[in-house]
Each structure stands twice: as C-alpha cells, then as structure tokens.
Symmetry: C2
Subunit: 339 residues, 2 copies
DNA sequence: TTACAAAGGCGAAACGTTTCGCTCTGTTTA
DNA sequence: TAAACAGAGCGAAACGTTTCGCCTTTGTAA
C-alpha cells in the first residue's frame, strides 16, 4: 500500500543506498536530489520508522514514568519534557505509576520491551532495584525531582533544602517565633524541605512544639485539615510553612473559611508555584521551582547520554540541583514584640 | 548483545518457526515448550518489538493527543487511558497540543510518522481538517470529550447539555430565580453546558440579565474574578452555576474570601468532580463525569476499530454520550418568597 | 495392517530500511 | 604526466521477527 524506498528506486533509477543517503542528509548530486524529491512528493512517501528502527536499533522513543500522571506538578513537567523531546525527534511514551511501586516496576519492564532508547523517571520507590532491568540492558536513565542514591543514576532536581531554609529565614526575619510546618516526610522532596526548615529553626533557637508539626500526605486534604487544626489550637502559630502545591491549596482554603485573615492573623509561605501564584489574594510568598529548566535539562542529559553510550563512551551520571527562587508576596506580616 | 530468537534456536535445536509459534501462543509439544522456556530464562531473551512491528506492520502503540496535558481533567483521563491500553498490550505516546491548533496538527503528523496504530484525541480544533492525514493513511481516530462533526469520526463524550439542564432545574426547584452562570463558550463542552442552562431558564421563564452571564476561559482566574464581580453587584444572584473544575476552584475561593457564605447567602452548583468533591465545606452539589468509563470506552472502541480495519471491515463511527451524575451536597439553600 | 487425519515442525521468503566496502569519474597536486 | 584523492553511486548483506506452504510424526479408526 504505502510507498517504499524501492518505489523511489524504480522511479528514479537510483540505488537504494543513494536514496537512503539522501533521506539521511548525505551528499547527492543536485540532479538526483531533484529526482528523489519529486518522486517522494508524487508517491507521498514516508519513511517507515519501524524498518529504520530495526536496523539502527534506535526507536527514537523515550519512556517517561511518572509517580502520578493526574498530579499537576507531574503534568507541567510532562508538558516541558514532551516539548523538548519532540524538538529532538524523540517521541514520549508515558506510563503512570499511580504511586504504586509494583506498577512502577512493571512500567519499566513494559517500556524496555517496547525498546525505548532511554528512560525519564519521577520515581515512587526510593531504592534503585526496580531499575535493574534498565541497567542490565544498558538503557540510560535520568531521574527527575526525586533522587535515588545509586552511582549509576543521573538526576535533575531542585535544591529543596536550601529553599526551605530560606523560607524559614524569611519568616524568622519578620519576627516570627511560632512557626508551624505542614508537609510530608513520606516522599524524599518533602523530607528535604522539612529538614531545611528544622535546620534553620535549630540555628535560630526557635522552639517548635509537636502540635506545630503536621506531617502527612502531599494532598489538598492534608493541607486543609492541618490548617484547621492549627488555627484551632489554644495558642495558634503566627506563621505557617506549606510544603507543596496541594497543601497550599487546602491550607489557604481553610484559612479563608475561618475567621482568620492572612497576613493579619497568620503569615503564610509556600512551596511550588504552578497555578495559584498570581491568583490568591493577598498574594502568597512562594518558593517557585524552575519547571521548564528541570524538564529540559533532564531531557537534554538523557539524549546526550544516549549518544555517549552509542559511541561507546561513559554516560554522565551527575546529580544537578537547580536553585529555587523565592518570590515575595504580601502574605507575611511583622510580628509585634508581645506576641 | 541481546539474545535473539536465533540463540534460542541454537540452544534448543528447534526451528525459528516453532519458537515464534511458541512466543505467539501456538501449539508446541510440552517437551519443546519446556526447552524453549528454559532457554528464554537462561539467555534472558526478550522479543524485539521493532522486528516484530516491521513484519506485522503493527506498532502496538497508540498516539494520544490532548489539548493541555497539565490540565487536571486531561491528566485524569490520561491515567485511565494508559491503564486500559496497557492491559491490551498497547503503549501510549502522548503529545501535548498546548491549546494550539497549529501544534495539534503537527502532533498528528508526528505520531503518524511514528506509525501509531490508532489515535485518541481530545481536540483543540473544532473542524476535522487536521485529521485528514490520519484518514488518508487509514489510521482510526477516536475523539474524547469534545466531538467534531465528521462522519469519519467516532467520539466518546458526556451529555453536557442534559446535565446542566438538570443542574438549573435543581436550582429552580429550590426556588431560585436570580441565577448566574460562570462558564465558557470558547470550547464545545462549555457551549453545550451553557445552552443546557439557557434552555431550562427559558422553559421556566426565568429572566437572566446580562450581568449574570460570565463567559470567558475555563480557568481559575475567570472563576475567581467572575464570582467577585457577581458578589459586588447591587443585586447579586442567589445562585450560581459554575461551568467546570477550574472555575469552581476560583469561584469558591472568591466566595470564601468575601463576606458571603454559602449556602446561606449564595447557592452553588458546579460541573466536574476531580479533586474537590469531598473537600469543600459545606459540600458542593456537583455534576460529576464518568472519567474512567469515558477513557475505557474510548480505548476499547479504538482497539476494536483497529482490529476491524485490519480484518477489512468497516470501523464503528458512533458518537456515544455518557450520562453525568449529579451528586447532592449542602451548597444549595431554599429561597424565601421575598427574595 | 493399512489408511488417514491432525498436530507439530521446518525452511525460506518477506518486511523496509541502513551501511560496508567497492568502483568509477573527474580534479588536484607534485 | 602520473599519482593521489575526493565525490558520488552501487550491490549486497544485515537487522530479528512472522508466516506460508510443505513435510514428518503420531495416534486412531477401519
């Protein structure tokens, strides 16, 4: 049905080798170049990527495995990944791990069978066992957002620790000493953020009572409930650090429903930009992650590692931590002495 | 490097044909079956899908094109699509159209070149021109959520019109006659919902002043601003219909920040479930879409059409409208006579 | 014991490219 | 003027499967 390179051969009288050379950008006499061009148009010829893949053993396809595809953070990352890969001629095959390590492992196998040239992963699992098949088949892997300790892995992430240190420092500089944290230690990024907070609180000798620490899921629900509980305390905090997008959403919802007003009664600073940055009123102080940069760097690194491996060289296994920018808002108030 | 079917041949003394038969579930003597199984394990053999694709001319890959991959609605649909395709041995290649018709058109071409077996599309464009290349190459297409008038297309969507009719009827049954609508006529689903509302309002002879109609983007921002404006009117509405998830998010945010309380001062009903359903307090009345059913039906239909085409039969081009369920909440109050 | 059918196995061709090593032609260099 | 060389083209092999038509074996019924 579809035209092949052989049909072009018939039509132009040239050899397969020459036509292939043309298709791959090699040197061909101007005269023949024209002939081939013409034949391609007339026959509506399209390269059969399957055949090409078979012989080059490159599928020009990247497997993308995300912890939760319905998550906004993941979605935005996916957008930028797709963009970048596409520009380099790669297609993206996605698999959703649904926060399930078992499924994640299956995803890797599935994609490896589909002969992806490389893997881009935002992992659920915290050890690298599930990536063993990829290592065995010499398929390069680049992690995003969440790193795993393994010398065979490269990772592009964000400096969560430094950013949350900075956030707490800001609250403290405004005079706050009753600081609560709503976050999660269930995932690595959450832990890093939490540890950053704690470090500065220790440094500045700010006590943090147990009831000011709200650790749970990175979910709207956790943000909402935690904020409600904090506001209901006999001695509520004067400032709250909110560990991610969903938590912010829930927590701000809770504040708005309550009799508290921010920043008058409570100061807020949060992690992740995404949608709400220019919407909430008053504007929130936010630690915003360089989503596009993270995605692009990861895609670039993966593609370059694929090339390196093909050329027999060693791939680059660096862990890169991108800086997080803190954007000022109007959600933090100075604390008067007596508070 | 990697083991091939030939290595298994060497090891077992069987022919390629027999081994292939085994791999594809054909009948093989128990004795040989064991031999092959053993060899596969020892050699760590994996079928090379590229070679298989070349000869069967099936890539076992579906192209999925979404209007905006960072959109929560799209994300949830993607999750269910991936799930279903996966279970049938198909991989999903995603492309993000970023709400850009030009990019959408490119996406189709790109995926067709990658030799996908079929296309699943939530379209940006409202005419089918951009799908012409798929029709030419006889690649089946199933639309989701948003239909396009073209006899060559199948579509699985939701009965937006009926659902919003129902929603307005409920508000009206509670006695409301000052009903505002925040929605969008920029996309087909938005228009269907809007028309459903209008139909019932007409039927029941409920006047709808211009300032009660807020049409814009399906965005948090539009919901937020519109609700603010509605509440600031000299004669604000007693009830508001909110056209989608993002609008609900923004609108509820605006209500919570205001001095209004729902349902006391204003009644609310919204379209789309997604995240907030069991969170907002008081609970919202919501029209929830059967996301999983929509995704699964679409994937099933596409796969079955792929089979039909391969067998030389005509694919099924139906447009299926799934019913939307309205889930009661506590966000609607009765209106007293004098209002 | 023969005949026959069914089951299982086999060799070879096919799928549509890329690539290696060779040849030919014409031009530059010493 | 001969030697060296670059540019362009070619034929054939290779990539790793599936599948077609044919052959062999085995078991069963007549």
């Amino acid at each position: 049905m579809a035209a092949t390179i052989r049909d072009i051969k018939e039509r132009t009288g040239l050899s397969l080798a020459t036509i292939s050379k043309y298709l791959n950008g090699g040197n061909v006499l101007p005269e023949n170049r024209e002939k081939i061009k013409e034949a391609i148009v007339e026959l509506n010829y399209q390269v059969n990527e399957m055949a090409r893949s078979l012989v080059t053993s490159q599928s020009k396809t990247i497997g993308v495995v995300v912890f939760d595809i319905a998550n906004v953070f993941a979605g935005i990352l996916l957008r930028h990944i797709g963009e970048k890969l596409r520009a380099s001629g790669y297609a993206a095959m996605f698999c959703d791990s649904m926060n399930d390590p078992g499924l994640e492992k299956e995803n890797i196998r599935f994609l490896l069978n589909k002969k992806v040239d490389g893997l881009l992963v935002i992992p659920v699992e915290e050890t690298s066992d599930f990536l063993e098949p990829a290592f065995n088949e010499n398929v390069p892997v680049v992690l995003m957002d969440r790193s795993i300790k393994d010398p065979r892995l490269a990772c592009i992430k964000v400096d969560n620790h430094a950013a949350s240190e900075e956030a707490i420092r800001i609250l403290s500089d405004y005079g706050h000493r009753k600081i609560a944290i709503i976050g999660s230690t269930l995932i690595p990024t959450g832990r890093e953020r939490f540890e950053g907070c704690i470090k500065v609180l220790r440094e500045r000798r700010i006590e943090i009572p147990e009831e000011y620490v709200k650790l749970g899921q990175h979910s709207i629900e956790h943000g909402y409930r935690s904020m409600q509980e904090l506001l209901a305390l006999p001695e509520p905090p004067t400032a709250v650090f909110m560990g991610n997008f969903e938590i912010i959403l829930g927590a701000v919802m809770a504040v708005n429903e309550s009799s508290f007003e921010y920043p008058r009664d409570i100061s807020l600073i949060g992690f992740d930009d995404l949608l709400i940055s220019n919407l909430s009123n008053p504007r929130l102080w936010l630690a915003v992650q360089p989503m596009q940069e993270m995605a692009w760097k990861a895609a670039d690194l993966l593609i370059s590692n694929i090339r390196l491996i093909r050329e027999g060289q060693d791939p680059v296994r660096s862990e890169i931590k991108l800086p997080v920018k803190i954007i000022p808002g109007s959600s933090i108030a100075h604390v008067s002495e007596n508070k």
